[in-house]
Amino acid sequence: MSETRKVTIKAFRFNAETDYLPYTKQYEMEVGKDDLILDLMNRIKWEHDGSFSYRRSCRHGICGACAIKVNGKAVLACKQNAIELLDLFDNDITLEPSSKKRAIKDMIIDKSDFWEKHAAIKPYVVADVDPHPTEETKQSIAEFNNFLDSDLCIQCGACHYSCPALEVNPEFFGPAAFAAAYRFTVDTRDSAGAERLELTAQPSQGVWDCVKCYECAEACPKEINPIEKIGKLHNMQFEQGIAESNVATRHAEGFLRGMKKYGYLDEADIVTYSEGLLGAAKHIGTAMKMMKSGKIHWHSGVPFIDSIPKIKNLDEVQKLIEISQTNKL
């Protein structure tokens, strides 16, 4: 790693009160090996343009205020070494707010959607507490470890504003809210678990609309791995009998049908089983095109014709499903 480099830093600039469109401004500076992205932003403000705006507070990677994106990568400005990013992006650094469409002034965004969703999942322990307790409410190490680091979330919004599902579907709760839902649902002192699981089971806003891209896991500066908690919420919905039979849950559970019969997924059956016959009808156009190209065959999905190849030693898979299955729909 070199000691210092003369670099041109690009920054997204926009003032919602005066600008019609955002623009990019460039700033030349020497970047040292220990400089953080926050140091670069301070230099822009203190040495180049006092109107440059951003949030900062603790400078210890714990308050989450300075979360921004650099070339699309979510970072905490006070934690991210600048040279590392220069190496990662071929000496090109563009500072951007976490969400360009929610920008108020430069790096400062309106996070109200994040806080509304966070609040909606009741991110606190719901419990009838004795106002005059005679002893502490204790948790074992194992019970604490079950939080799986979700307790470390600093609400910076890095995962939330990296989530492509949320970008398309504003109703979606998003990974940070799900991580919080998991954290309080597994808390042994909490009594609102079922309510939270029902919320996270709802179509459009709940976990079933997660696209499984792992952007949230990549973005989290505290290495909380929100998608791991999303997976746990999926499982918990089944374990606690909260999962209702719908397209998404049947799609998950329905994998077993093909695997029991062939070892492989039955690709045609899973669509019909998940959507029902009427729902599957909307795929007829695509199915015809796939048939024309040879991707599927006329007998695909016909119940009485075994058109799927079978794996060798299928009986092992059947046996393992029989003795290992822990959930049901």
Partner: protein, 296 residues
């Protein structure tokens, strides 16, 4: 290379069903390059990240069983689907780092006479070509340079994220700035298209329950590639291929623009450059017409 490379191939479900061209082109590429392939005929579905949502423990048991068969052969298990790669690697990581889980899984596997040991690596075919066969060696085998094609690499999520899980198997690919497919295109003398969406999500996994989200994500990537003058898109993931190839009509309606772009499997692109036969490459299996790309 002094020793012949030999791998255990985990085909996944799609290569056995809706994307037969993926299997034929993979085998053709391996044959041309002198790589020995043993197909794991015993391997089942990986759960595709959906069975995992329903029953994580069962998914671990079934994936561990698949890996057992590669272990029996003493070979690295290679995958040709990003999602198969992720789910198999996740099970391997979980079992290798959690002795209690490994014991619980092995208790079930013992009922069918198997034991997961953790001795086989799991690697996507893309990365075996780059890291183990070597790009220079691939380049030396090119018979039909792809120099007249602008090729948009579409990486797919599950080979590059979460980066921590994949870093050993994918040569420390940077999820924000992946380069493997680009360098493979370079080696085949094609012109890699640089576009913002190359490491984004195609939306395949919510096709049924969140169709609009799925269509927009796929549409963003396809249009981005088209706007950057791509003649084709290439992906190492058959699920990305299925989403991007078969739904272009409906994606076009959602996006308000005509979408027309051939989407090739990574091995198909390599097979084109290595001069494999038209039948082996199987471009006729595409919904979006792609046969014209075969020029040998």
């Amino acid at each position: 290379m002094s020793e012949q490379l030999h791998y255990a191939l985990f085909t996944g479900c799609t290569a056995k069903q809706s994307t037969p061209e993926l299997l034929s082109s993979t085998l053709a590429v391996a044959d041309k390059l002198g790589i020995k392939i043993t197909i794991l005929e015993e391997a089942s579905c990986c759960g595709a990240s959906h069975l995992q949502d329903f029953d994580e423990f069962l998914a671990h048991v079934l994936n561990a069983r698949n890996i057992c068969y590669a272990e029996k052969l003493g070979l690295t298990m290679i995958t040709i689907c990003n999602t198969c790669q992720l789910n198999s690697a996740m099970t391997k990581h979980a079992l290798d780092t959690d002795p209690e889980l490994k014991a619980r899984v092995n208790e079930k596997l013992a009922e069918v006479g198997l034991e997961y040991k953790g001795t086989s690596e799991i690697k996507h075919f893309l990365y075996t070509l780059i890291d183990e066969y070597g790009l220079e060696n691939v380049k030396n085998k090119v018979e039909v340079p792809l120099s007249h094609f602008n090729i948009a690499p579409f990486y797919g999520c599950h080979n590059i994220r979460p980066s921590e899980l994949h870093e050993e198997a994918n040569g420390h690919e940077n999820p924000y700035n992946p380069t493997s497919l680009d360098s493979l295109i370079d080696a085949l003398e094609g012109n890699p298209v640089n576009y913002e969406s190359k490491n984004k999500c195609c939306g395949f996994h919510v096709e049924l329950q969140a169709n609009h989200t799925s269509e927009v994500l796929a549409g963003n990537a396809l249009l981005d590639a088209m706007d950057n003058n791509a003649d084709m898109m290439v992906t190492p993931c058959p699920l990305c291929h299925l989403k991007m190839d078969t739904y272009q009509d409906s994606i076009g309606k959602v996006m308000g623009r005509d979408v027309e772009l051939p989407v090739l499997h990574m091995p198909q692109m390599v097979a084109l450059a290595l001069g494999c036969t038209e039948k082996e490459i199987g471009l006729n299996f595409h919904v979006q017409k792609a046969k014209h790309l075969y020029t040998a």
